[in-house]
């Protein structure tokens, strides 16, 4: 048995206070891992949403796990504003590094390519750029009078995501979410929860192989059935809209958020603990 295959608790225990963590936007979201981080009361996370975030970042912020969030936007989509996020920003308890979607991707792609920075069009004249001390404008060395933004590489300590399946060698099938490859390549470590572990080598499978992440980039795998709940896993299960709605309602203020999370984690503890 490959030693990268373990259980969810041991993955969570490796994620220390202050880690820089990348999570994908609105599917493949590692909700089980997120609940584990809340339970363990991990603190001072630097969260990188790739490129935007919804329930999980809002929940981690509400639970006091996050000190910095680097994001192109956090929203509960059709369920409204991300109120724990908004409230933390107003209070100043969380530092926000506002970006734009392709800037997050480009920063990760720079890390993936092992280059220290990458240029990107757009941005110039926006208050997004004006407020990012770590972005710069340089002259395009190949063209006169052509200012262009350059962004530093983003290298997370951990990429965390949930996927349909892994194999015994540690290869992970991603499906359509090719961005997860960029995230894993860009990060120091990648922890994955999966619905199941299969008996064949995924990379040997002609069609699955090209939509999979090599074990070379995977540092820990744990089975977590319904690991994206209450969010969806495309092709496997849909959103649990009732739970999402109940969260969106509860998260409008900190007290009702706290109660909701208590119930939510309590349920989880009963179910998995």
């Amino acid at each position: 048995m490959n030693e990268t295959i373990t259980d969810i608790i041991s993955l969570i225990n490796q994620i220390n206070d202050g880690s820089k963590i990348a999570i994908f936007k609105d599917c493949s979201v590692p909700m089980s891992l997120g609940r584990g981080l809340i339970k363990r009361q991990v603190r001072n996370l630097h969260l990188v949403t790739v490129p935007t975030g919804s329930f999980l970042p809002d929940m981690l912020i509400g639970a006091g796990c996050v000190s910095t969030i680097e994001t192109a936007g956090v929203s509960l989509g059709e369920f409204g504003l991300a109120n724990r996020f908004g409230s933390a920003i107003k209070e100043g308890s969380v530092t926000v590094l506002d970006a734009t979607c392709p800037a997050i991707y480009a920063g990760l792609q720079a890390s993936e390519k092992g280059i220290p920075f990458i240029p990107l069009r757009g941005l110039i004249g926006s208050d997004v750029l004006a407020n990012r001390g770590d972005f710069q404008i340089i002259d395009n060395p190949f063209e006169r009078d052509d200012p262009i933004a350059v962004l530093p590489a983003i290298q997370p300590d951990f990429t965390l995501f949930h996927a349909p399946m892994a194999d015994q060698a540690g290869n992970v099938y991603l499906g359509r979410q090719a961005e997860l490859k960029i995230m894993a390549h860009a990060s120091k470590k990648t922890f994955v929860t999966v619905e199941k572990i299969v008996d064949f080598n995924i990379m040997d499978h002609e069609e699955l192989g090209s939509a999979s992440l090599s074990h070379l980039y995977v540092d820990g795998i744990a089975v977590a059935s319904n690991g994206s709940w209450p969010l969806n896993l495309p092709g496997h299960y849909d959103y649990d809209r009732k739970t999402m709605q109940s969260y969106a309602h509860a998260a409008k203020n900190q007290e009702t958020f706290n109660s909701w999370v208590d119930i939510y984690l309590g349920k989880e503890l009963r179910e998995t603990g």
Binding site: T52, I124, G125, S126, V128
Partner: protein, 242 residues
């Protein structure tokens, strides 16, 4: 034939898309999405409609990175943006109200706006609320600027602004909006009263063309069943059960 306000907006936006090849539509955008589908249903030039978040062919994108790369390659002709605030220079604020960073009201964030607004030739601004709260003299935070200095690489930018009251065009040289037409039942005064910035006002402003019966047929028969996939609630509200 009677029509819903949403159908008028769909029809108005669709006219702006004639002759294009590839139109991309963001999340939570049922009216722009419907307009793109309407345009495609009657235009031979439209090769692809990309609906961000759609998992169904032919509207699916290859991936999120692909959308942004595709825009930079010049392969997206039109895109839609909204804004919590929009000002007379077409600056868009999707980030929040008050002093940044600890804003009184924090919205989501810039999303792709600080990039796509520069690169997509025809960005259509669309907002379903036409008030002075939205259309302000100056946005609190420029998530994406409406205009740029001449030496900034910017093949794209604002093209029009569609609201429930009217249609504006945007003049990039003069850096201001121009009232192009007023929707039936509304007036110049109403537009002026509810707009916090100055705009060019022609001596005579035409009424926005209402969707003809053929257009309404297309919207109800061709567009509605498709848009009901990503936006079931929207489709149910406008067209009833589908």
């Amino acid at each position: 034939m009677t029509y819903a306000t949403e159908e008028l907006l769909i029809s108005t936006i669709a006219h702006l898309l004639d002759g294009l090849k590839h139109i991309a539509v963001g999340v939570l955008s049922p009216i722009p999405g419907s307009a793109a589908l309407l345009a495609a249903s009657r235009s031979a030039t439209i090769k692809k409609i990309s609906i961000i978040g759609s998992m169904k062919e032919p509207y699916r994108l290859d991936g999120a990175v692909d959308l942004f790369d595709c825009a930079a390659q010049g392969r997206i002709d039109a895109f839609f943006l909204s804004g919590g605030q929009i000002d007379g220079q077409a600056n868009v604020n999707l980030t929040g109200i008050g002093q940044y960073p600890n804003q009184d009201t924090r919205w989501s964030g810039a999303f792709g706006s600080a990039y796509l607004y520069f690169l997509v030739p025809k960005v259509i601004l669309f907002r379903e609320e036409h008030t002075r709260r939205v259309f302000v003299p100056k946005v609190d935070f420029i998530s994406a600027p409406g205009t740029s200095a001449p030496n900034v690489y910017r093949p794209g930018g604002p093209y029009a602004l569609v609201t429930p009251l009217c249609l504006f065009s945007f003049n990039r040289t003069k850096e201001c909006f121009r009232l192009e037409s007023i929707h039936p039942g509304h007036t110049v005064e109403e537009v002026r009263d509810n707009t916090g910035f100055d705009f060019d006002l022609p001596a005579s402003v035409p009424e926005t063309a209402i969707p003809d019966s053929q257009t309404l047929q297309l919207i109800r028969n061709e567009v509605a069943p498709i848009i009901a996939d990503p936006y079931p609630d929207f489709a149910r509200k406008i067209w009833g059960s589908n």
